[in-house]
């Protein structure tokens, strides 16, 4: 099979209107991928499927990746010549700019008839808020059906042209998209007394109410979370110490 670089060149020649970028994978696996123009995504996908040299008839894995907005600190070094004639000074100018985030759909394509692969293609949305529409590749590969529904469910990418775009794993009334990096869990669980860390902090109010029965949760949650052993603060003793035989 041709390399990803060759494939990119061929795609660029075949679809001059489309932007096909090579995304290098710096890791050991070195599975480089192609970022396709979302507008022409489906045409390119059809080409990939039907091209006799490629015959990528099998779309193995479809997944979303969330790239949140990232603050990037640019350091611009300028050499300011010293007017006094000394050695030139290096002035660092720091500027912070926000790299806009996006959502990305990654497709791993293989060929079952020619037994080669993978070709990894990526489609990017405009941003993470409103421009989240990508063309659905389900008409090209039926295997994308449930996986694109899952991405729609968990990441919030809307796949235009998907025949049955509903939430797959979460219930229909669910609002958020849990796999996004900025997803905040709703604090509406029935907390059970558990022992550890962050969960403990959040559970403490609930626990105390359940265990002591008399302690006001609001009052006790104001106490420091972890007091030193032997501390005289009664509230901190509750979850762990009650467990003593």
């Amino acid at each position: 099979m041709e390399t990803v670089q060759q494939l990119r060149d061929r795609l660029a020649a075949r679809f001059p209107a489309a932007r096909v970028e090579l995304v290098l994978n710096p890791g050991v696996a070195a599975e480089h991928s192609l970022r396709l123009d979302a507008a022409l995504g489906r045409d390119i996908a059809l080409f990939l499927r039907d091209d006799p040299a490629l015959r990528l008839d099998y779309c193995s894995n479809v997944t979303g990746v969330d790239w949140p907005d990232k603050e990037i600190t640019d350091v611009v070094k300028t050499t300011v010549p010293d007017p006094a004639g000394g050695p030139p000074k290096i002035v660092e100018e720091k500027s912070v700019h926000v790299q806009p985030g996006c959502l990305e759909a990654v497709y791993h394509l293989y060929s079952m008839s020619l037994k080669h692969g993978p070709v990894v293609i990526r489609l990017r949305t405009g941003n993470r808020a409103d421009a989240v529409t990508l063309p659905s590749l389900t008409p090209v590969w039926r295997s994308c059906d449930f996986q694109e529904r899952e991405i729609f469910d968990l990441f919030g990418i809307v796949f235009a042209g998907h025949p049955d775009l509903r939430r797959l794993l979460m219930w229909d009334e669910f609002k958020d998209h849990p796999m996004r990096k900025d997803y905040v869990e709703p604090d509406d669980y029935e907390w059970e007394p558990t022992a550890h860390g962050a969960v403990l902090e959040r559970a403490k109010a609930h626990q105390l109410a359940a265990v002591a029965g008399v302690v006001d949760p609001g009052q006790s949650s104001a106490n420091p979370p972890k007091a030193a052993p032997g501390s005289t603060t009664p509230a901190t003793t509750a979850p762990v110490k009650e467990a003593k035989p």
Partner: protein
Amino acid sequence: MLGSGIINGLIVTAKNFVGSYHDPKRMVTVEYPEQRTVLPENYRNFPFLISENATDPMGTLRCVACQICEKECPPQCIIIEKSKDKKPDASGKPQLYPAVFGIDTSVCMSCQICVEVCPFDAIKMDQVFEIAATDRFHDLFLTREKLAKPNSYYHQIHPTEAAEVDGRLNTERKAAEEKAKAAAAAKAAAAAAKSVPVAGVADPGPASPRPATPIQPASAPAAPATSPVPKPQDEPRSSPAGEGGPANPAS
């Protein structure tokens, strides 16, 4: 012919029926409470802490409260609080110890990662599987006292592994001792002056979990809210005689 497949099937089940009376290989049932299978040595259930000495489990825990297992535990079921003081471990080196060590077995998934990451061989997998309890919140939360089991018990349930671990530890300790001896011989005078007060603090004394238990039922519901008395809690080792004094009148 129609029916031959059905008759073949009937023959197979009939063979199994007869076989179930004379062929023990076919019968896999173990009538549990009366009969028990021998647990394989590698069987793992929930973790326990190893203490060097059965008579003083809290004083001789191998755990040094490094909190690696707490961090690595995938379901985050371990809770550790470091002690403020230090006490000598098996090789005599002063170490921290866990003032609080709890494992929530209702969260624990018996994955053994805590055992694998522990650099001190202090936590091992237990084989007790009859852990049914009536209070799912408190009986399933294992505290330091419930978790601590002597090294001999470890040898009993995982003989091969324990022998290997002990062998490794012994060589390490011997090397450490020899090193310490060499170091001690070099600056014996300076070290002796310092070591006396440390030993005094770390002395476990007669305190054991026993004195704490009688007061527990009476004071438990009211104490967290009202009683200003510092309860010994799961700190029997660090509770000196002075603290036991005020606790007794409360009962």
